[in-house]
């Protein structure tokens, strides 16, 4: 087990290192840089800027150094001091800009994943046991629709319903009166009231998919000989189901948990944009549009790191759940 953990951990570190390089290169791709955009903005509000100023700005932002050098400095600062560089738009350290917002993104992602599995596993078991029942068909059709509706559309539909039917705007994560208030019990309640909509939106597409997986594997398992043996032995049906076929059927569910987290985090920025959530999504979009490479790069890096870490966790859970995986890795 220890060797297995170590191996997975080393792979994770290697992936993170490769990832940081790719992220930096992608953000370097757009022609022009932040200094040019800055000069362009100054010009558009009528300030006279010379060619020399442009070079000065570029030097001031540190953008005149070759990119490998900037990459090395960026990644060294992250690793040694947890410093993600300076956001060029906000003229503040990236960590300050992201600050609380990253916490919201993480809470959102985690609650979406919990909702996803909390719904998918019981419904999947139900559908497999009551195959071709009305409930099974209903969930199957709902599942299809859940897959077919992109996240942002679901967000728009819910916004529309909330405005036309309930007459309130559910965008954001706080009501106006709590927006800048310090944390308190009332603010927490208000926060939870707003949290459920993005949670549902981010959770649904994955739920639909996992219901199908759970249903299919359980259908395969429940007619196997070992189940018949257990039944012949006289185990009560409920206990039998949970102890044998469900446990085996959980395998593909747990092993794809990392991908599910990837899917949730992947959809988060656009949903956050539509619902105007004060999390990292809108920041990310703005950073991309304005070529703020440190802010955009750091966020892309954090999103990916979250999913890589999630995959690592799901590997560990799989090893705990299934002895065959542990044994297999030892050889």
């Amino acid at each position: 087990m220890r060797a297995f953990l170590l191996r997975r951990f080393l792979i994770m570190i290697g992936m993170l290192a490769l990832l940081s390089l790719i992220v930096f290169i992608i953000l370097e791709l757009p022609p022009g840089d932040f200094a040019e955009r800055h000069v362009y903005q100054l010009k558009s509000i009528g300030i006279f800027v010379t060619e020399e100023d442009l070079l000065n700005y570029r030097h001031q932002f540190g953008l005149d150094r070759p990119w490998p050098e900037r990459y090395l400095r960026w990644i060294t600062n992250i690793v040694t001091r947890g410093n993600f560089g300076l956001s060029l738009i906000y003229r503040k350290p990236v960590t300050d800009v992201i600050g609380e917002r990253l916490g919201f993104t993480a809470i959102l992602a985690i609650s979406a994943v919990i909702l996803l599995y909390g719904l998918a596993i019981p419904i999947g078991i139900y559908s497999a046991i009551h195959q071709y029942s009305i409930g099974d068909y209903t969930f199957t059709i709902l599942g299809y629709v859940g897959i077919a509706i992109p996240n942002f559309m679901l967000a728009l539909v819910l916004l529309y319903i909330s405005v036309t039917v309930f007459g309130t705007n559910v965008g954001g994560l706080f009501s106006p009166e709590y927006l800048d208030a310090p944390w308190s019990w009332a603010r927490l309640i208000d926060f939870l009231k707003h949290l459920w909509i993005p949670t549902i939106i981010l959770g649904t597409s994955g739920t639909a998919f996992q219901i199908r997986t759970m249903r299919a594997t359980l259908l395969d398992e429940k007619n196997k000989l070992y189940v018949t043996v257990a039944r012949a032995k006289g185990l009560p049906e409920g206990r039998l189901l949970m102890k044998y076929p469900v446990r085996v059927a959980l395998n593909p569910i747990v092993s794809t948990m990392g991908w599910e987290l990837t899917r949730v985090i992947s959809g988060a920025p656009i949903v956050a944009f539509v619902l105007a959530l004060p999390d990292t999504g809108p920041l990310f979009l703005r950073a991309l549009l304005d070529e703020d490479i440190y802010l955009g790069g750091s966020l892309l890096m954090i999103y990916s790191a979250l999913t890589i870490f999630g995959t690592f966790l799901s590997d560990i859970m799989l090893a705990l759940l299934d002895p065959r995986i542990r044994q297999g890795e030892k050889v």
Partner: protein, 386 residues
Amino acid sequence: MADLGGLSGTGTASQPGLRGLQTEKELKYYTATQAQLIWWRFKKHRLALLGTSILAIFLIIVLFANFISPMDPFTRNSNYIFGPPQKLHFIDEEGTFHLRPFVYGVTNELDPETFQFNTVEDTSQAYPVQFFIKGDPYKLWGIIRTDIHLFGVEDGFLHLLGTDKLGRDLLSRAFFATRTSLTIGVIGMLFTFFLGLIIGGISGFFGGRVDDITQRLIEFTRSIPDLPLLMALAASLPKEWSPLRVYFSITFILALLGWTNLARRVRSKLLSLREADFIIAAKIAGSSDARIIMRHMLPSFMSYIIVDLSISFPYMIIAETSLSFIGLGLRPPVISWGVLLNESQNIKAISQHPWLFSPVVFVILAVLAFNFVGDGIRDAADPYAT
């Protein structure tokens, strides 16, 4: 001896018709080609058939977008800005029934106090819907110059889905958007197909170290959240590029992240087929590598490839729509589903002009149809299905 012969004779004679029918049926089953078998099994899947008919309609829209849309997608109707959808009527004010549906003339005026558009139906003016009517001129497939549209009205105007902020007909725009968004899916699928086939092929064919590296690469690609990465890549396209160039770049970017499933499939099939009896037999018979791959290996997993491709299609559509929706993908004057929905992205637009949101129906229908068809092919192509 003769007795035995008689016995067997009576055995067949007792149910001659059934026997004959059975063998004929069996004969048909055993001599059917792979494609026929797949088609028979596919036909049993009702949802897949439904999906196929929806896709057929979409194909007609893609091919004849100019003809079936009542207007040119860029024609502005300055009398009907932000106009809500017009209702089709069959029964007029006097209660008489008309077989030919008609619309009433509508005026849409800006209220100077509230700055909202007030729409009033004028029941004295009725415009019956005409078929094969003259309208905006266009060139069908770039060759045939004509001005005949499938339907429309004379004198007045017909906006069944309403109009946008410039008074352009939303239904026509949705038809043209269908053309763009679906072709993006098709071209993206082709890119995906080649990337997956080549990378998976190399991985499975060489095996060993190359295979290891490719597998790590696939795992790596899968573990990056794709939409943020797509956003970053799409944002890196220069703004001054021509729409066509952006269109192809976006398609290629989508394929760049979508090839992993197919590559995995091709690799695992190649690896398992390498050891299969019929491949070894072909080798012993002296077939060349190229012949073995093209003639023996590829047909045996082609159905899987088709399934994977049909499943990657909804992914392409959703990804393109999402990107264009937040303004990082295609941009006007190109019309795609995402570009249309881009106009309905804030709460004000949705509450005041909810019809701008209607292209969503197209997207959902397309994605559902592709999922149904993909499921149907998967079930039909599975050789182990009962």
